[in-house]
Structure formats: structure tokens, C-alpha cells
Amino acid sequence: MDADLRQHFDRAVTDDPGADPGEIALAAIAEGGRIRRRRRQLAGAGVAAGVVALLAVVGGVSLRSEPTGPAGPPMTVAAAMMPVAAPSCSEKPVESDASDVAIFLGTEATDPQRSAVGAALRGDPRVAELQFESREQAWERFRALWADSPDFVEAVSPSQLPESYRLRMVDPSQYRGFVTAYAAMDGVEQIVGRVCPVSAPIGGVQ
């Protein structure tokens, strides 16, 4: 089936008007050289932020080639698996001052890793309330969410859905330090923080 699909895509580009790679390279060297010079001139100035930001996104997240600059906003497992933030919470995850947090474990996380994260959270004075969502619970919720797309549900097995800890912070201002500590733990894949009112479900996700 993949081979057939590949053929479909190949056919879709058969009207390619063509372009000379040598010319592309020359133009890129000219324009890229301009970018280099501009960047050197502006080194340190915030004006280069556009270029630097792109490179940070490119290098920071996975290819790890840009040592400076902040990593780009990570695309989250949560964004695809569970696009619904609780309606009363901030729709976009926040970097700081989150009141509610979901910690997603990698699908490869082991039992000891899960227990270690759970134990750390239970003993953490920054955590006001804590819940755990198992793979089965995640699967139920996922099925309900995508009930109108049975094909899609069919294509996903429970083992692909992440387990997660959901929690409410005692003090949102502690969120940054909190993330740093837990992001380093084995088995943790993604941490998503949101700003929620007290009435929201714990963790800020439905």
C-alpha cells in the first residue's frame, strides 16, 4: 500500500516545470551570504531575533545544532492526542505561572519510572492535588473525543496513548522550577501547563 501511495505522490508532481539546482545554489549563496553579513552586523542586537528564532526552532527541538537561543515552542503530544484544554483554562500552554499541569509519560515509560514520578509528585509540597490517568482511561476519553472518526480511532491502539499525571499547583509562580525538575525525570515525555480557574478539572485538560 505504501508503494502505491508513493506512486500517487510521484504522479502528483509530474508537471514539475523544473529548475536548475546550480542556479538555486548560486542564489542561495548570494542571499545566504547577505544573511550572514547582516547577522554579523547585528550580532547582539535584537533585530536578528527573527533569524535566530527560526534557527532556534530548527536546531533546538530535535537537531540540537543551535547552542544559543531558546528552544522553539515544542509541539506537544497533548496537542494531537487531546486537543481540548478544559474550556475554562487558557487554550495555549503557558511557559510560566501555570496553575494546572499535565505530565505525560512516554509510551515506553517503565513501571519503576512511573512509580518514581508518582512518588516524587505525592511528596512534592508544590502540588496541591494530584490525579493519574491510565492508558485505559486515556483510550476511553480518546474514543469518545473522536467518536465521529471511527477510521481514526481504529488506527490508534491504546498502547499509543500516554499515561499522565494531572495536578494543580499550590502556587503558580513555582511552575518554572517545577517543570525543570520533572522534565529531567526518566519516562517523562511532555509537560503541559495551563492557567485555569479553581472550577476547572485538575490538570486543565478534559
Partner: protein
């Protein structure tokens, strides 16, 4: 305009001249290496850009921008990264940016033309239909499909390029294929 070649100011001693020659040699080597990379990667990259945006001119432009950005950081890119994967990531970021900038004013895509009955795979109708159907997907789903199925990258590679997990790639693929199938008919994927 800052582009003009400046003639090196005459300086006492041979060291600066030697240093300048060294620099020129480095640039010549860099350009040669970069050109070889562009020649190996340009066609595939431009075609992927086309599948993302449905417009050969724009695809050419995006390709050009991608390579210019890569040249600007080539010394860093060539050591320790996979330039091929890097180019995909730069391209997709450009596409995502473009989409964001345009989304306010973007004209809603015209309705898909009715699929002509009995159109054989590979007829112009189906060829256009695939590109049109791709355009109805979210840009993220389209990116996954193009990298995964037009370029034949593994799930892991696509995940690395897009900075998401493998399961996200699998889910987006499944969702996107289901959508294509519903637009183009069952035999699109099975045939």
C-alpha cells in the same frame, strides 16, 4: 548593497594576506560542498514544497529561501546535523509561517471538483485531485503525509524533523489518510 567586494587594505607583513587567502579557500570549499548538497536535495525539496502549497512558483521561492537560510548557517549545519533532515525542517517552518501569516486573508479553497467516474489513477484529474485534497488537510497533517509518503521517511525521521513524537506522526498519518480516502475514494489508498 552591502554586497560589494571590498579590496583588502594593504597591511604590513604577510600574515594578514595569508589569513585572507585561508579565508577565501575556506569559502570556496564551503561553497563547493554547499552546491553539491543543493544539487542532491533541490528537486525533492521543491516537489515537497509544491505538495505543501500547490503552486510551483511559491514552491521554488520556498526552496530558495530554505537553501539561503541553510547557507547562512552552513558551517554549523554541516557538522553534527543531517542537512537533508534540516532542510525539511526549515522548509516546513517556512510553510507553517506562511500559513499563519495568510490564514487571516486566505481564500477558502474552492469546492473539490466532482471526481470523474472511472478516472484511472494517474489521469490529470486524479493527479490534480490529490494535490487539491492535500490542500484541505491541516498544514501539520499535510506535512506528515508529504514527509512520510511522498518522501518515504520513516516515522522516526518524520518525528525528528517535525519535533513531535512518533505516535503523533502515526496518528496524523492515519487521520490524514482517512481524510484523503474520504475525498478521493477507497481505491486511492488501496488501489
Amino acid at each position: 548593497m552591502t554586497d560589494t567586494v571590498t579590496t583588502p587594505r594593504p597591511v604590513d607583513g604577510g600574515a594578514p594576506a595569508g589569513w585572507g587567502a585561508g579565508r577565501r579557500r575556506t569559502k570556496a570549499a564551503r561553497d563547493e560542498e554547499f552546491t553539491a548538497f543543493v544539487e542532491s536535495a533541490a528537486t525533492r525539496l521543491r516537489r515537497s514544497a509544491y505538495l505543501m502549497c500547490r503552486d510551483w512558483h511559491l514552491a521554488q521561492d520556498l526552496t530558495q529561501q530554505t537553501f539561503a537560510k541553510m547557507y547562512a548557517s552552513w558551517d554549523r549545519i554541516r557538522t553534527g546535523t543531517n542537512p537533508e533532515g534540516y532542510s525539511r525542517r526549515v522548509l516546513m517552518n517556512l510553510v507553517f509561517d506562511q500559513q499563519r501569516r495568510r490564514s487571516g486573508s486566505e481564500v477558502v479553497l474552492a469546492d473539490l471538483p466532482d471526481r470523474p467516474d472511472g478516472a484511472a489513477a494517474g489521469t490529470p484529474e486524479l493527479r490534480l485531485a490529490l494535490v487539491d485534497a492535500l490542500a484541505t488537510l491541516s498544514v501539520e497533517d499535510r506535512a506528515v503525509l508529504v514527509l512520510r509518503h511522498a518522501e518515504d521517511h520513516s516515522v522516526d525521521t518524520v518525528a525528528t524533523i517535525l519535533g513531535v513524537s512518533g505516535s503523533v506522526v502515526k496518528m496524523r498519518t492515519a487521520r490524514a489518510l482517512a481524510r484523503l480516502r474520504s475525498l478521493l475514494g477507497e481505491d486511492f489508498v488501496d488501489g
